[in-house]
């Protein structure tokens, strides 16, 4: 609870009444620090978490053993080294991939994309390893699930188009780093859930709640200022009120 009585905003006479309601809410620092710490731990930033525990004088959450492995797995997936990632996941808990075929398929598909990327980048263009991998690893799984099959077909079509300067959007996304990040974060969630933790960091829910709430409130015709800036830009404090569009969460 910040009991800040230093209210810069009080000096602004033409303040929107909703802004006053916002200012009246005094979030507790403890809660905010909790959300930050929760994010650092569950999304795997161990060094920052350690420093934060020290600097904010809060307890490091019960030494959560998996954090190091989770960081390694994340790094492996981000780097496109899916083999290592799968091995590490199985070291941690073989059940995770066994019980989540969609996740396993997503990882294998990522691996296929990496193979395709590799074999299409050289002029020799030997696509045999990619074909072998697809038929031995992915095809049997795709046979059981129409969604998997669709994904596999799309992925395989990369072989036809690559190398290319421009790709159709649905193919281009397959080569974006975002896909790796998405899969990595799904894996992270699955590991956390398998250990009985909350899969997703609180911070994500909070950010979405903020978006959703503003959208809903505007739909319901609530009397809100035209924009609700967060002040992410330095120097753009409460003084200049709502102006800078730089940090507005838009719908």
């Amino acid at each position: 609870m910040s009991s800040s009585t230093v209210s810069v905003s009080a000096a602004t006479p033409t303040q929107h009444h909703f802004q006053r309601k916002v200012d009246d809410i005094k979030p507790s620092k403890t809660d905010i620090n909790f959300v930050v710490m929760d994010y650092l731990i569950s999304e795997g930033y161990p060094r920052a978490a350690e420093k934060f525990a020290k600097e904010a004088n809060i307890q490091l959450p019960l030494e959560e053993e998996s954090i190091q492995s989770r960081v390694e797995i994340r790094c492996a997936i981000h780097a496109g080294d899916i083999d290592t990632a799968i091995n590490k996941i199985n070291d941690l808990n073989p059940q995770i991939l066994d019980t989540d075929p969609a996740l396993h398929f997503a990882l294998l598909r990522l691996q296929l994309i990496e193979l395709i990327r590799k074999c299409t980048s050289t002029p020799s263009t030997d696509i045999t390893p990619a074909l072998n991998f697809a038929s031995s690893q992915l095809a049997p799984r795709a046979a059981t699930n129409p969604d998997f099959l669709k994904d596999l077909e799309l992925t395989m079509s990369l072989l036809i188009f690559l190398p290319a300067d421009t790709l159709q959007p649905q193919l281009a996304v397959l080569l974006q780093p975002t896909l790796r990040r998405q899969v990595a974060s799904k894996v992270n969630e699955a590991i956390l859930t398998s250990m009985g933790c909350r899969g997703e960091a609180r911070m994500r829910g909070l950010v979405r709640l903020r978006l959703w709430a503003e959208r809903k409130a505007r739909e319901a015709g609530k009397d809100l200022p035209p924009s609700l800036p967060l002040g992410l830009q330095d120097g753009e404090g409460q003084q200049n009120g709502n102006g800078e569009p730089a940090d507005i969460m838009v719908q």
């Binding site: 609870m1 910040s2 800040s4 009585t5 230093v6 810069v8 909703f18 309601k21 916002v22 809410i25 005094k26 979030p27 620092k29 403890t30 809660d31 905010i32 959300v35 930050v36 994010y39 650092l40 930033y45 060094r47 920052a48 350690e50 420093k51 934060f52 020290k54 600097e55 790094c75 981000h78 780097a79 780093p177 975002t178 990040r181 609180r202 911070m203 994500r204 829910g205 909070l206 979405r208 709640l209 978006l211 959703w212 503003e214 809903k216 319901a220 609530k222 809100l224 609700l228 967060l230 002040g231 330095d234 120097g235 404090g237 409460q238 569009p245 730089a246 507005i248 969460m249 838009v250």
Partner: protein, 669 residues
């Protein structure tokens, strides 16, 4: 010892008189020193309510206010206080309860806070009386304090643990009983308001006897639900109506037949809204059937249940601005209906329905996606920016650096085949942040001098421009000195001093009594002056040395510390003596009162000594420094939380989807 005893007496006497004074500012200035959870006005609020508590005009007041306009009574200034009155009823009626399906909801939390604050106020009221009486008696109040230590400890914890109560917006209570004054005259209300019985003669065709509950169903609950059991059907019993109606609907008609009234009737199983012509709805009902009635304010629909079975939606398009009171109507002699407003488990699994509703809304929230304009279109990136800015803003320098590095590594790994130089986190060294972190660390360690020194050196204007913070820091220093004294003393007296040792305190009883009856705070200050000045000398030391001679060294340290504390206290007093501000005077009084206690930890002032009091001062100073640098006083993440809560509140007030969200509980813990 004897000297200390007298101070304790003086202080407790005066403290007592301050407590009886309902001045709201007693904790106001010092709330930052007590606990992070306390709102400046939370502790004082219950005192305001005290005069109203005893007020027996519960119903007359709430009804008159409630019927005065289209808004329910709780929007009036005092209406909500009466919700827990029931002083004229049996104990069952006044007992506070939370219906199972509302547990953990934001609205229930608010009501619980109001309830707790009220209960605490009553306890405080009683305890103030007793301690006041004690200090006036000839017995030494330091002994009293010692004996009462556990009680006091409990009280002080109560005070500091209480979550903030925002008095500006009274919280709408839910129905708790049938209303004695809002019924057809021949309806008898029994069993603490739970049972309604028609005691009159049989009604003619279009007449009936109805009764409304004490409060409307609060829209802020999102879904409100209650049940009624038909205890006994009257002779040839027919025509029981269960439903809800607006505050002005005549009570000599069965609910459902009048405008703004809605009900499910037992004789034909039809449901009626606003007219005498019904539509077929469900089965008939009679003796021992349990009929449930619920409104979903998000969808503005109503439904009924029978014996735990959901029937179907009965009404749609309920008016969003009419307060709907649970209402039942009867026609035959001796018909009796018993209500369950949540005091007992329900026959229907309403909890599940509310959970499902929450689930739907959660799923909707989970699907909410950016873009987060300009900063990034990506959620992860947006979160990283938020966290990075928060860490830098609040001066968590090392964490900010480590986080930037780790995120940087991640970005590099992701972009392995592209240009890896795309760090979106600003990793530049922020010299201000380092200095601010130093100042914060000093305060959190209790080293106020260091914090003052650094602040003056790095940000010379801050303390000058923010005199209130300067004052709080100076007070905090005094508190830290007292803490130090206490620590030293605890080393000296590992075993609590038996009360007999304090018998000498009674020597000063006369003196003390004269002082403790002093009514005005100015006298108290003069008196503190006198004590701080006069008793700061040899007689004190002599007393202390008599007590224990083995540990002279520690004793000497303690005495040294004590005299330094006193000297500092005088300095502080002198510096702010002429400060006209009331809150400064109050804060000074509270702070100086600390020195009067033999063992402050067992006094009502104990919260002032908590180390948790350091954090708010540190944060306030940090914010002031940021403002002086032209930066915003709160981090973007903090503002995000503020905005989120405010938006959700907006969405909850009219029973919208926000009613099913408890931001703190569901998203911050």
């Amino acid at each position: 010892m004897s000297r200390r005893g007298s101070y304790a007496q003086v202080a407790s006497g005066n403290t007592g008189s301050i407590q009886t004074n309902p001045a709201p500012s007693r904790w106001g200035t010092f709330s930052h020193l007590s606990n992070s959870g306390s709102n400046p006005h939370s502790a004082s609020h219950p005192r305001h309510s005290r005069p109203n508590d005893a007020d027996g005009h519960h119903n007359s007041m709430s009804t008159s206010l409630g019927r005065s306009g289209p808004l329910p009574s709780y929007t009036s200034q005092f209406g909500y206080l009466n919700g827990y009155g029931g002083a004229h009823d049996g104990p069952t009626a006044s007992a506070f309860f939370v219906p199972s399906y509302l547990r953990g909801s934001k609205h229930a939390e608010k009501l619980e806070e109001v309830h707790r604050a009220r209960a605490a106020a009553q306890r405080e009221h009683r305890s103030t009386h007793s301690s006041h009486a004690g200090s006036l008696s000839t017995s030494s109040s330091s002994v009293n304090l010692h004996k009462m230590s556990s009680a006091h400890r409990g009280l002080s914890h109560e005070v500091i643990e209480r979550a903030p109560v925002f008095v500006e917006e009274p919280v709408a209570p839910w129905p708790m009983r049938w209303n004695d004054t809002d019924k057809f005259p021949q309806v008898e209300i029994e069993d603490g308001g739970r049972q309604a019985k028609f005691a009159g003669a049989q009604k003619t065709h279009d007449e009936a006897a109805s009764v409304r509950a004490d409060y409307p169903m609060p829209r802020q609950c999102g879904i409100y639900y209650y049940e009624v059991t038909v205890i006994s059907k009257g002779k040839d019993g027919r025509m029981i109506g269960v439903g809800f109606s607006g505050p002005k609907v005549p009570l000599n008609r069965i609910p459902g037949w009048e405008p703004d009234s809605y009900a499910y009737h037992g004789d034909d199983g039809q449901c009626f809204s606003n007219t005498t012509s019904g539509k077929s709805y469900g089965p008939k009902f009679g003796t021992l059937d349990v009929i449930g009635c619920g409104i979903n304010f998000r969808t503005n629909t109503a439904f009924f249940t029978k014996n735990g079975q959901f029937l179907k939606t009965a009404f749609r398009d309920l008016k969003p601005n009419v307060p709907y009171y649970p209402t039942v109507g009867m026609k035959k002699s001796n018909e009796t209906l018993r209500a369950n407003f949540g005091q007992e488990p329900f026959a229907f699994d309403i909890d599940k329905m509310v959970q499902a509703e929450k689930g739907t809304i959660q799923a909707e929230i989970t699907r909410a996606k950016g873009p987060y304009k300009e900063v990034s279109t990506d959620e992860t990136q947006f979160i990283h920016t938020l966290i990075g800015q928060y860490l830098a803003h609040d001066g968590y320098v090392d964490t900010a650096r480590a986080f930037a590095e780790e995120v940087g590594d991640e970005v590099k790994a992701l972009a392995n085949d592209e240009d890896a130089d795309i760090p979106y986190l600003d990793t530049e060294e922020d010299i201000d942040a380092t200095q601010r972190q130093k100042i914060r660390a000093a305060i959190l360690d209790g080293d106020i001098d260091k914090a003052l020194k650094h602040t003056t050196a790095y940000y010379p204007t801050v303390l000058r421009d923010n005199e209130n913070i300067y004052f709080k820091l100076r007070c905090r220093k005094f508190i830290e000195m007292i803490r130090k004294c206490n620590e030293l003393k605890e080393h000296m007296h590992p075993i609590p001093t038996p009360p007999s040792k304090r018998s000498t305190a009674s020597n000063n009883a006369n003196n003390t009594n004269r002082n403790s009856t002093a009514t005005d705070e100015y006298d108290f200050e003069m008196e503190l002056d006198e004590q701080l000045g006069v008793h700061n000398g040899a007689p004190w030391e002599a007393d202390e040395e008599e007590d224990d001679e083995d540990i002279e060294d520690k004793e000497a340290k303690h005495l040294d510390m004590e005299s330094k504390t006193i000297a500092y206290g005088q300095e502080l007093q002198a510096e702010f003596l002429n400060d006209p501000r009331r809150e400064v005077k109050k804060a000074l009084e509270d702070t100086f009162a600390l020195i009067a206690y033999e063992n402050v930890r067992e006094s009502t002032l104990a919260p002032l000594l908590e180390t948790s009091g350091r954090m708010p001062v540190a944060e306030e100073l940090n914010s002031a420094i940021l403002v002086s640098l032209g930066k915003s006083s709160s981090a973007a993440l903090e503002r995000l939380v503020q905005q989120t809560e405010a938006l959700v509140n907006e969405l909850a007030d009219d029973g919208g989807p926000g009613a099913f969200i408890n931001v703190r509980r569901d998203f911050l813990q």
